[in-house]
Symmetry: C3
């Protein structure tokens, strides 16, 4: 199984082109849209989210990961094996959280370049075909690199930030259960936000935090938009108290 | 084939997580997005729509159905076989229209609970894995229940209501051909709406009703939005005259 | 592999119904969403875009193509083989650019009509099942037609126009490398637009054109919307100078 994790959005021909490229090289291989609204232009936060999504991704799967504001520039293209899952994507911090959490890890820089190489769509031109070749047992030209050479390796991402805002305006942070021990209240600016177990527990319009389905702290407003109410964006910080 | 019918929207990691769960348990099984903008928080209307979509769904298919505002609460999780199709979803009225229309029907309450059970995402945690286990021939713990114990069994949904609003603002009702015998005009408030066969038959900006591709009465404005013009929402009633 | 190219949008049950129809007739056949936001109601421009997307589509693939404002009217339904790829769709200009570019081409009018034939959804009722039958080796009733009888055959589409606007507001034209020889500046009204190689090369808010990942001239604003800035729509013309 191949999964796609991108910030392309669901509109446009971009996801379809990647799927066509994969199908050409791996006929019959199932391709799953993991998500296409990963935080746009924000590889660090997108990578934090990706790391938390892997629990549901079967070992042996492959993922094409593209949040790549530096496409066409000098950043390295990567192939990576982490705990039995295979990744391709840019070396810009997107894959580093997955790498740091892995017990077994091997990183390669993709040296191969295709005949047709656009300056704006390496998902189609490099990441998808390189991963497909790997899966097909015909690896393209690459060289092993040290994992601690990955962008962001020495600079762990702060979990006390918004890493994703969903269609309801719920604010997902990188904070998990263990980090919240002893914490009862989140602070955003001067506003204090208390915990509830579910949406049902609070009044309409009330703001609260809870552990979402990924086990992460999420700030929500019952039948409203926390993003609007707080004016927060992906990358904004929260305070524990 | 497994089909997904949800109100999750196409954004976010939610649909992707369900697909990953299904792929883990049923490698190679094709999964089709039937729709992900079923009426949000409105299981009754979503269920009316679902019942009308089944004509195109092959017998033998399985459907994960999630419109579940009571997730995390006390509502029963269901497995259901109706006329050779298999369903999993909440017992909140979502599946009752399908059940009532079935010639052959068997209903079970899912008793099994997974180790990881979030309070907000039973589609991933219960409905998808329970259905997948069933398909794989390893049914999870369940008990048969009487079909007339389903929520809504004794309270058929009114078809003279808006059950879905599409991206164009067209208003789909639950009314079909047989119910419209002798009816020429629909009334919404004081406004009278006449029938046309197609969009081409009416002037730009004119409102009309017609039988849509599901065979249902749909109110539309040629090159406009009936939803905006009439200020109607899912659940709003119409009058036949 | 079957690919879908439509203007249905990703919302609603429409794409799901087509997939269910295909799965019923061709179990196990992979179906890929090439795109579902082809220019709405604009078969000519959609067809220009489609022709440029084929480079990534494997020979031997089949495509259901639906941008069909005349659905329910008199336009002919087509089956077409062009350079080893198979297409079904309306004869309204949508497929003519592909046809004109083909080295080998065979065109048929679909004469078969299904028992259930809605007036608004021939993608589900005619185009998908006709193509599926063809693939399954059980072709439906059809007759060969001359390729020069296709709508638009004698009236090549002007490439110096906007053929697609993506979610960022980037304006894709039908102009390619060869057509731009000696051209340095595009003109839209009185505004002159210069070329850049990538987004990085220009200042925030600046407008420019570049060769996009399909090899086509695209007008963009760095971190802004060219569509908004210029007030252009699909079909609007540009001038080379």
């Amino acid at each position: 199984m191949i999964l796609l994790f991108t910030d392309f959005g669901v509109e446009g021909p971009y996801v379809g082109q990647i799927k066509a490229v994969l199908a050409k090289r791996l006929p019959g291989q199932p391709v799953v849209d993991l998500m296409h609204d990963a935080p746009r232009f924000r590889p660090i936060e997108a990578g934090q989210l990706l790391a938390h999504l892997l629990e549901d991704v079967p070992v042996g799967s492959s993922l094409v990961c593209v949040v790549d504001p530096g496409v066409g520039g000098a950043r390295r293209p990567l192939l990576m094996e982490a705990d039995g899952r295979f990744f391709s994507g840019p070396d810009n911090g997107l894959l580093v959280e997955v790498a740091r959490a892995a017990r077994s890890l091997r990183c390669h820089e993709i040296l191969w370049r295709p005949k047709r190489l656009s300056s704006s769509f390496h998902g189609r031109d490099i990441f998808a075909p390189a991963l497909a070749s790997q899966i097909a047992g015909k690896p393209i030209k690459q060289r092993q690199i040290a994992s601690d050479s990955l962008v962001g390796w020495d600079d762990p991402a702060d979990p006390a930030r918004i890493i994703y805002i969903d269609g309801f305006g719920n604010l997902m942070t990188g904070l998990d259960d263990a980090m919240m021990e002893g914490v009862r209240v989140l602070k955003v600016g001067r506003r204090k936000i208390s915990r509830a177990r579910t949406f049902d527990e609070v009044q309409e319009g009330a703001i609260f935090w809870y552990f979402n389905s990924l086990g992460l702290v999420e700030i929500a407003v019952n039948q409203g938009s926390a993003a609007e109410l707080l004016g927060m964006q992906v990358g904004s910080g929260v305070t524990l108290s």
